[in-house]
């Protein structure tokens, strides 16, 4: 009896009694699709994965190095170098992670994608999310998921073949700030092979301005295969190396972080990614066979 009394906490007279929560059964209805709150559909992913698997395996012959550095649970922000006129690295990374680790990966990309009919919706269904800082924070911190971001933005894929494997500016380091706030590590991934899969020979800036798109490339694929070149990549050998996770010893959840610290960390990540790329290129004997 005395045990029971001890277990019941005494309500102090001065304490505010919380309002009783009205327990009601939520009326939720039956879903007809499995589209989640980000617009991603595992069903769609599965179809895409099945279709993409042969391309991944036989066309690009993707090889990973250091995949074990990506955690199997909890949030992490993956960053990679970005290349090819229509980037071939994003699907490779997303397919690889989901196949090998069996966990979803959300690809953060420019809002511009959303404005293109069909492309935007498809991109959203296969795991694309607009790269808004708040979105990233929710995915990484609140939901403990993996997110992929290309800090170069469109500056990466829009560079011409002459600039291949030379990393562009890493935005304003926003990705570092997000990782700091979310309290998750940044895991850089160096991708070799994407640059040559759809190299840009020249850009048409006037046409891009007229169409209202970030860039209009003239690719080697287009010259060789005509309109088919918009979708046909060269069968380059893909090699990906996962670098050591970068953690920041700052308290998470801060409203603002030191800009100089952010820029410094971003630059460090950029440098190590650049070094790794050069290192991998030193070892590469052939663009096609690795």
């Amino acid at each position: 009896m005395s045990v029971g009394e001890e277990a019941t906490p005494r309500i102090q007279r001065t304490a505010l009694v919380p309002l009783p929560r009205v327990e009601t059964t939520a009326i939720s209805g039956t879903r007809l699709s499995d589209v989640d709150e980000w617009g991603r559909s595992e069903h769609m992913r599965e179809i895409v994965r099945r279709f993409y698997a042969p391309i991944y395996k036989h066309w690009f012959r993707v090889e990973w190095d250091g995949l074990e550095k990506i955690p199997r649970a909890g949030g992490a922000l993956l960053v990679a170098n970005h290349a090819a006129a229509i980037p071939s690295d994003a699907p490779v990374i997303m397919h690889g992670i989901e196949e090998e680790l069996g966990r979803p990966l959300y690809g953060l990309a420019d809002f511009f994608f959303r404005t293109i009919p069909w492309v935007g919706t498809t991109w959203s269904r296969v795991g694309g999310v607009p790269a808004h800082p708040d979105n990233a924070l929710r995915i990484l911190r609140d939901q403990g998921q993996l997110a992929l971001v290309f800090p170069e933005g469109t500056k990466g894929p829009s560079k011409t073949y002459a600039d291949r494997y030379r990393l562009r500016r890493f935005g304003r380091g926003g990705f570092v700030e997000i990782a700091m706030r979310a309290g998750v590590p940044v895991i850089p991934i160096a991708v070799v092979g994407a640059e040559e899969s759809m190299p840009i020979l020249m850009r048409l800036p006037n046409l891009a301005k007229a169409l209202g798109v970030p860039y209009v490339p003239v690719t080697a694929n287009m010259l060789l295969f005509g309109p088919l070149g918009l979708a046909l990549y060269f069968p380059t050998k893909f090699k990906l190396r996962v670098l050591d996770p970068v953690t920041f010893d700052v308290p998470p959840g801060q409203e603002r972080y030191s800009k100089s610290r952010i820029m410094e960390e971003a630059e460090n990540i950029r440098m190590s990614l650049q070094e790794t790329l050069y290192d991998m290129l030193r070892d590469r004997r052939s663009v096609w066979f690795g």
Binding site: T24, A26, I27, S28, G29, E37, W118, V129, H132, D134
Partner: protein, 332 residues
């Protein structure tokens, strides 16, 4: 809302105001017919010494009223309301404003979830959105000038339910429902019961602040249409309005400008602040859709139910005030 409040014995008096008569039977609530800009409100406030004003009359559906009327109702109406509530010696201690998540707009640069402190990412182009933003500005100023008054602004997502008629509900109940081709946005709904419950919650507990109100989860528009058994009518992604205009005129679809951007980019609002205040919606977004379509199916089968109640001033007066009526307590 008034029905919900009537059941509370702590509420001494309920006074309803509107341009049209109430459509549900009310036991205790009094009703005053007003013009659409509430110009007599300050007299009523002085005369009745009300302590709470719940402002639910903001128009969020631009297909109902012409643009100028919309401005009159939303902007001028709210100005009169706040002026009445803020007059010197005002007895008003709480003002609740029913706004809409339309204030966030809908654009490609939006975050997936809007929190209350976020601002919209694109300029407001439609009249409804502009008036709502203006109204919320007035309310903010009012809250600043009257720190003793509890001011609550509720931003409701698109409302669906058994009775409410909005452009979205009209579209979903018809055989063809518009879609911007190539876009399948995620949309959020709140059930009309939850709207009432939420207004009641903040009024009763005097919860100050700004809150998003929406059902949990987001549903793709195509799925909503599928649940409602309507066929999607794809409108071209360019010159959408021009293509929609003749269809609107022919009465096939409803397509206010707010709906166009919603059908491109959707909208999501974060409701965690509201749940921290102790309120959870009973219906999820999908639950609201289902509640709506079930009511619609019933209407289709049995036809439009005639209103079970019509307000007649003299009869109401008789029942409430005549000495001939024997008032027996309800519970005996």
């Amino acid at each position: 809302m008034a029905q919900a409040l009537e059941s509370d014995p702590d509420v001494e008096m309920i006074l309803g105001m509107g341009t049209s008569e109430p459509s549900v039977p009310l036991e205790r609530a009094e009703f005053v017919r007003a013009d659409q800009t509430y110009s007599i409100l300050s007299r009523i406030v002085r005369a009745t010494q009300v302590d709470t004003i719940v402002h639910t009359f903001l128009v969020v559906d631009s297909t109902r009223v012409p643009g100028r009327t919309l401005h009159e109702i939303n902007v001028i109406g709210t100005m009169n309301l706040l002026a009445a509530a803020g007059q010197s010696g005002s007895p008003v201690r709480q003002v609740v404003v029913k706004s809409s998540t339309l204030v966030y707009g809908s654009a490609s640069t939006d975050p997936t979830w809007f929190r209350e402190e976020m601002t919209r990412t694109s300029p407001a182009r439609t009249r409804v959105e502009r008036t709502l933003i203006e109204v919320e500005g007035f309310v903010r100023d009012f809250a600043e000038d009257n720190p003793a008054t509890v001011v609550t602004v509720l931003r409701f997502a698109n409302v669906l339910g058994t009775d409410i008629i909005t452009p979205i509900s009209t579209n979903l109940s018809r055989p063809l429902c518009p879609q911007v081709a190539g876009f399948d946005p995620l949309v959020q709904f709140v059930e009309e019961d939850d709207v009432v419950r939420c207004l009641e919650h903040v009024t009763r507990h005097r919860v100050p602040g700004l809150y998003n109100v929406a059902g949990e989860g987001r549903v793709p528009w195509a799925e909503v249409a599928e649940i409602c058994g309507t066929r999607l009518l794809p409108l071209p992604p360019v010159a959408t309005r021009q293509f929609a205009a003749p269809l609107v005129r022919a009465g096939i679809i409803e397509f206010p400008p707010e709906l166009e951007s919603l059908l491109r980019y959707g909208r999501g609002v974060d409701t965690s602040r509201l749940s921290r205040s102790g309120f959870t919606t009973r219906y999820t977004s999908l639950g609201a859709v289902e509640s709506f379509i079930r009511a619609t199916r019933l209407r289709r089968s049995i036809g439009k139910t005639p209103p079970s109640y019509t307000y007649e001033q003299d009869i109401e007066q008789f029942f409430r005030h005549s000495s001939a009526v024997v008032n027996t307590p309800v519970d005996g």
